[in-house]
Structure formats: structure tokens, C-alpha cells
Amino acid sequence: MRPFLAVVPLMAMLLGAMPALHVLPDASSPIAVAAFSVPAGLDRQTDSENGLAAFTAYAILEGNVSDGTSLLDAVTAQGGTISVDVTSRASLFTITALPDRFASVVALFAQSLQHPDFSPVTMAHTRAAVLAQFAESQRNGALIAEQMIDGVQAAVNESAATPLGLPATIVAIRSSNVEKFFTQNYRRNGAAIVATDVKTQAAIAALLDALAPGTPAKIRGEARPLIGASRELQAVRSHASLAYVLSFPAPGPRDMAAPAAFVFAQMLQTAIAQLAELPDIPSRSLTDGAIDVTYDYLHAPARYVVTIDGSLGNASRVVSVTMGLAKAFSSLRFKGNVNRFIAIARGRMLEGARTPTARVEMSAQFLAAGLPLDQLAIFDRELGNVDAAMLEHAARGLRSAPTIAVVGSVDGN
């Protein structure tokens, strides 16, 4: 059997020392997928430019490609999809289509990158789209809580790390801001493409050609973990679900303890669920999501995120339990067999890569973070070496007080 993430650089355009185009051979994929990563992430904007990276990316989608048709609509008419996710380090565009339509969909995107349209009409459509997406995000308590944690980190780092910005900053963005951000950051060096379809390499390569040569602007806000005193953030929304989110510093993906961090997250989740008396039933899908611990290694800086569904009858007690466990685990001398938790961690990690789209997006994010394309396979291999010392190292971040965000609804819940 062949490895699950075999990487064959069928075409490697060398830009500097870094191959920018990668093909993951995936003959079983029912669709063609490409993820295009541009070094235009949240780390390229300042505090006063909150939301600019996302606004610029959405403006490309909303921009005119011909006769008043936006890129988004033109791609849909071709039977494709295009979406964007703005992360700590990159703007990540994902394009999907049936294989026979993929080249024409990619060509539309390349045209938009080569001749971006930041006209007043596009700006108005983009503003409406971003504000609508912001409003939608305010219905999800856990999402709001994560945004609050990102926001406080941004304030400490004097950067602007919330993905969409805030309504006040979104409405203040002008086309000159967008043009400047695009010109400075949508550059060929540092951009990368990962794709499934080997038959349309030329079309995919055109995306890189569409970018101006040179390197992007320097990183504006260096991300540092929040340490020191505990920060507690609260928000109330009219239609949001109740949620508690706790964030603790975690080892970065290049740290030797990174594989152990996956295992530690599972140990913490299991311990919280047991102490919170979550029912142990065979249909775990019914209780999954009530308590979740994630090792968010692609976030800058890396962190453990504990999410507690506020509709749990004893949610505030679960928060207390989590705080107590975090303190205990941070100085615990780990003993015994951790193979069970290694297996669970491996399963959770691998299931996130079970679709061609997920594999392509994940690989592009690895490249954006300066990691090897096959980082998942590396983690998978290294999980087998996790020992007590690595777990203790992975748990060190819990000595720091967490940042806690609580989102409630207007009825006072």
C-alpha cells in the first residue's frame, strides 16, 4: 500500500529555493481541487487595519471579471466554487470544480489576480459581503469567543489578528487601502499552490504568473503567546449560543514536543469529560462537541483551545474542573502507558485529512507556516515516539493562566 500523502512534485517551479507548485496525486478524487496560498495573512496588517486582509481577499472574489459579473458568479456559472480563508499567516483560496471545467475556473481566478478590480462598486459589494459574514459569525458563541481571544492577543501584540475585523474598521476601509495591501502582499515569492489535478498544471501555474514578482511586505505584528495574569473576556449577543472557550499556550509545530501536544490534548479532553460526568454512551456523536480540546498548531502562536458548550447543565462547573486539571497537569510527572491516547490522537489528526479538499488545504497551510508539505505524515510517524518527558514539555503552557472568553445571550443566561 502506498503512503497516504505521497507527494510527487510533478512540476516544481523554483522561485528562490522554494518550489511553489505541488501536486498531490489523488486519482480517486471525484473533483479537482487547488489551494492557493498568498502571504497576505493577518500578520501583515496593523491594529488600525483590522480586517484589511480579509477585505482584500473578498474584494478579489467580488471583483468584476467581465460585463459586470463578479469572479464568484463567473466561477459558479462554470460549475465551480471559490472560497477564501484568512489565517494568521496567509490568505488561502480554495478552488474546486469538476475535472473537465477546472482549467476554465482557474483561468478566471488568474484573470482576477492579474487585473484586480477595486472599483467603488466592488468595494460596496465587498463591504456588504464582509459585514454579512461578520453578522453570521455573531450567532456562534464559540466563534465569538475565539475572536475575542484573538482580539486581546492582537492588542498585546499591536497587530490586528481577528479574521474579519470589526464593523467599525470594515466600513472605514477604502479602495486605496485595499490596492496598497494587494500590491504589497500578493507577490509571487512566498505564494504556493497545492492541487489534486495533474492534468491542468499549466492552468494552475498561471495563478503564480498572475502575481507580481518579488517578495511581500514584512510581517507587521509578531505573534507572541499570552502569558502572565489570567484574562477573562465576556460578551453578550442576541442570538448567539452560550459558549466558554479557554486558551492556553502550546508548543509550536516545529517544537520537538508538538506530537506530544496532540496526545496531551486528548488526555485533557478525556479527563475533563470524566470529571464533568459526560455520559459514556456508544453514540458519541450525540455528546461530541459538548467538550472539545484542540491543539491548534497552525495558529500563531500555537495554543490549546478548550471549548465548552454552554448548554451543558453544569457548564460553569466544567470550566472550574478544566482550570483545576490544567493546573494539576502542568506540573504532573506522567507515568504509565499512553498508547491509548496516542491512538486516539492519531485518529483525530488523520480524520481531518479524509477528503481531497482537506488534504490540499492542509498542505497549503503547512507551506504557509513554513512546514514541509507532508507535515501530517511526519506528525503521524513521530506520534509513536511520544514519551512522558515530551508530554510534560507539552503541558508546560498550562502553567500560564488561560485566557477565558464567555459568550452569553441577552436573556441573561
Binding site: M1, F4, P282, S283, G347
Partner: protein, 416 residues
């Protein structure tokens, strides 16, 4: 306590097909299990995880329709009983890094595991041991009752699930879809005796009544891991639900107010018509107005097309949905059809990327009597039907099936 044996691989006399041929990406191997029932293995070489789905024709309210919830109790109890390792199937899968889930429908039970590829063989052995030779003791039944209580509360607070079940009960005059999925109260869960659950499990979960779907980076000989179980009397008949001549509108109590509307649709054997109904559902529900959901449910005898509506202006929204349904009965212009059809074809493929989605679809469509029509087979009958749709044909199907809907209204109750 009885323990079941795991992995009696050498006893399994499964027919492996295709023999001698290379098993390439996307290929399917199908065959018959040693004690009856069918298997489908589909190759997905790039996936790091394998999906294993075991599906059975099993009425949610029992074979007499009088014991709502018995199929979930039986499925959960079988997954909670200790295997030869001393662990239950549910714990065994979890400790190998997998996810285990139980899906109950009016006429079917599906149990799924999603595990790292290296664990697939062991999980197939464990899963077939747990279900093909079920042993249900008091401890596993207690666990199953807890599971069903959580499912009961979850469904009670889900307007979509509540309305979908109520619509099926109103639309179909006979058969499992006419019966409730779960007991009327949490207290009633405890009144179903262990003997009844055990008897149901032995009848429903026999190998001869099973469809085993395995999708991942595996070869067809993985089915040699199947644990045979006990001999059974043969395959179970189809559990058909038939619509009534004039279904009656109803009002039910629920924690949330809402409206459901439904029509009966073509059977699974009318592949092109059923696919046209999926396309119509895609037009209505892929980017629906706020507070509207719905789909076409493909079934053996007659399918169900439904919409659920919630929110403060549910009545006005219902009128808009019905007006849209009326419009669908006229052919779309060529350009609009081409755009929507292209988006539909892409969505079919997007929704069948994950091995667990493909395995579930194989299980569902095979159990409903048409395995070859599962959308996860990208070279199969579904794709042929989907690509052959025309504006005129789709409109004719809408005109044929969208006559008088059945309507269910939920009245907000003071107590859940």
C-alpha cells in the same frame, strides 16, 4: 457472561471479486458474505482513514410497529456488550483512534466506524462479531437506555428531526415510516424488556440482512476479517412504507414552533425521476431562504420530498416555498438550467469526497434495494442519471409529484 469470538477469519468463505484484476482507485469489489448479506469494498488510496459501515433493514418501532425505539436500543446494546477483548465495540473503536456512531431511520439501522487504515481489519472483525452474534445483558441494556434517553432529548429539541418524523408518519399510511422512531417519553424507554431487545437484535442484525461497506486504502480481501456469526434463515424482506390516498394535515406539540410540508416521490428503482427530485431539492435548499431546510429522501417503494420552516414568519415563508414549488413545474431556460445543473453535479461530487460519506451512501442505497445507484460510485447509475437531466424532464417530474402536500404544524408546548 458469554463472550463472542473475534476475527474468525479462516471460517469466512466470502466470495472476493474481482479476482485477479488490479484493484484501482475508485474501484468497487462486491460479493456475498459467508452467511448471507452483501459487501462492497471501495478503494480510496489517498485517504488516511477507512470507513466501515454496517447497515441492516430493521424497523425502528419493531416488527409489529408497536415498540418505538427498539431498534436504537438493540443497536446501542450490541455496541455496548463486551467482546472477547473485554471491551465493548464502542470502546474498542474509540481506543483505536476511531469514531463510532449509530444512525437510526424508520426502516434501517446503520452503524459506522471511521478508523485509521491500519486498524480497519480489527474493527471489521469486532463490528461483525458484535452485530452478527449479539449478546445483550443487563449492563449493556442499561448503557443502551442511557444512549436512547440522550437521543430522545436531542431529537425533542431539534425542530427539523421532529418535523421530518411527523411528516413521514402523516404521509405514509403503512409501514415503518408511519410509526414513531422513539418512545413517547424517557420513562417509556425503560419499559422495553431485555428479552424483546435481544430477540429483535437476533432477527435484525443477522449477516443475511446486512450490507457491509468498506471505503478506504484497503484491498478487497479485507472482508476476510468478517466474523461469521450464527446461521440465519435468509435475507429479510424490504420494509416498504406506502403513502395514503389522502394524507391528513396534523398539528403536534413541540418545544419550537414550525411548519413542515411533504409530498410522496418516485421509488428508488425509477432512477432518473429520483435524481430529478434530488436536483429539484438542490435548487430549493442549497442556498435556502433563512429558516428553511429540506431534501428528497430516496426510499424503496416511494420517496419523500419535504421542507421544514421555522422562524417568526413561518406562514409567509411557507407561501413563498409553495410558490417556488409551483414555478419548478415549468421548464427553466437553457442558461439557468445549465448553471444550476453544473452546480448540482459539483455538489454531488463534493458530498461524496469523504470515505464515511461514501460508505454511508452505499449502505443506504443497497439497503433500500439499489446498490448500483449509490451516488458515491462516480461511474455508476446515479451519475448517468444526473448528467442526463433536461429542463423539460425535471419540470415534468415536478408536475407529476408536487400536487397536494401534507402539512404538519408544530404548536409550541409549555413543557418539553
Amino acid at each position: 457472561m458469554m463472550r463472542r469470538a473475534l476475527a474468525i477469519a479462516c471460517m469466512c468463505a466470502c466470495t472476493l471479486a474481482p479476482r485477479g484484476a488490479a484493484f484501482a482507485s475508485g474501484d468497487q469489489a462486491t460479493g456475498t458474505l459467508a452467511r448471507g448479506g452483501t459487501y462492497v469494498v471501495q478503494q480510496d488510496p489517498a485517504s488516511p482513514v477507512t470507513a466501515i459501515a454496517l447497515w441492516f433493514r430493521a424497523p425502528a418501532a419493531g416488527y409489529d410497529g408497536a415498540t418505538p425505539g427498539i431498534s436504537r436500543l438493540a443497536a446501542a446494546a450490541a455496541a455496548s456488550s463486551p467482546l472477547a477483548t473485554g471491551k465493548s465495540l464502542a470502546h474498542f473503536v474509540r481506543d483505536l483512534g476511531g469514531r463510532f456512531s449509530i444512525n437510526i431511520f424508520a426502516d434501517l439501522v446503520g452503524v459506522d466506524a471511521l478508523v485509521p487504515n491500519a486498524q480497519a481489519r480489527r474493527v471489521i472483525a469486532a463490528m461483525t462479531a458484535a452485530y452478527f452474534a449479539p449478546t445483550i445483558d443487563d449492563a449493556s441494556l442499561t448503557m443502551a437506555r442511557r444512549d436512547e434517553a440522550v437521543a430522545f432529548v436531542t431529537q425533542r429539541y431539534s425542530l427539523g428531526s421532529t418535523l421530518q418524523t411527523a411528516l413521514a408518519m402523516a404521509l405514509f399510511a403503512h409501514g415503518p415510516h408511519h410509526d414513531p422512531l422513539l418512545p413517547p417519553s424517557v420513562a417509556a424507554i425503560g419499559s422495553i424488556p431485555r428479552d424483546a431487545v435481544s430477540s429483535f437484535a437476533h432477527q435484525a442484525f443477522a449477516s443475511s440482512n446486512a450490507v457491509l461497506a468498506v471505503v478506504g486504502n484497503v484491498s478487497p480481501d479485507i472482508v476476510r476479517a468478517v466474523t461469521d456469526g450464527t446461521p440465519n434463515q435468509g435475507s429479510a424482506p424490504m420494509l416498504d412504507s406506502l403513502p395514503g390516498d389522502e394524507p391528513l394535515d396534523t398539528t403536534i406539540d413541540a418545544p419550537v414552533a414550525g411548519i413542515g410540508i411533504a409530498w410522496s416521490g418516485p421509488s428508488i428503482s425509477d432512477e432518473k425521476a429520483a435524481t430529478a427530485m434530488d436536483f429539484l431539492a438542490d435548487q430549493l435548499f442549497s442556498s435556502p431562504p433563512p429558516h428553511v431546510t429540506g431534501q428528497f429522501v430516496t426510499l424503496h417503494a416511494a420517496g419523500m420530498f419535504f421542507a421544514t420552516i421555522s422562524g417568526p414568519s413561518a406562514n409567509a415563508t411557507k407561501k413563498r416555498v409553495l410558490a417556488r414549488i409551483e414555478q419548478l413545474q415549468s421548464p427553466l431556460d437553457a442558461a439557468t438550467f445549465a448553471r444550476l445543473h453544473a452546480a448540482f453535479l459539483l455538489r454531488i461530487r463534493q458530498q461524496t469526497q469523504a470515505p464515511d460519506e461514501v460508505a454511508d451512501e452505499i449502505g443506504w442505497y443497497a439497503s433500500e434495494g439499489n446498490a448500483a445507484y449509490a451516488p458515491g460510485d462516480h461511474r455508476g447509475a446515479y451519475w448517468t442519471a444526473a448528467t442526463s437531466l433536461t429542463p423539460e424532464y425535471v419540470a415534468s417530474i415536478a408536475a407529476r409529484y408536487f400536487s397536494h402536500p401534507v402539512v404538519v404544524t408544530t404548536k409550541q408546548s409549555a413543557t418539553p
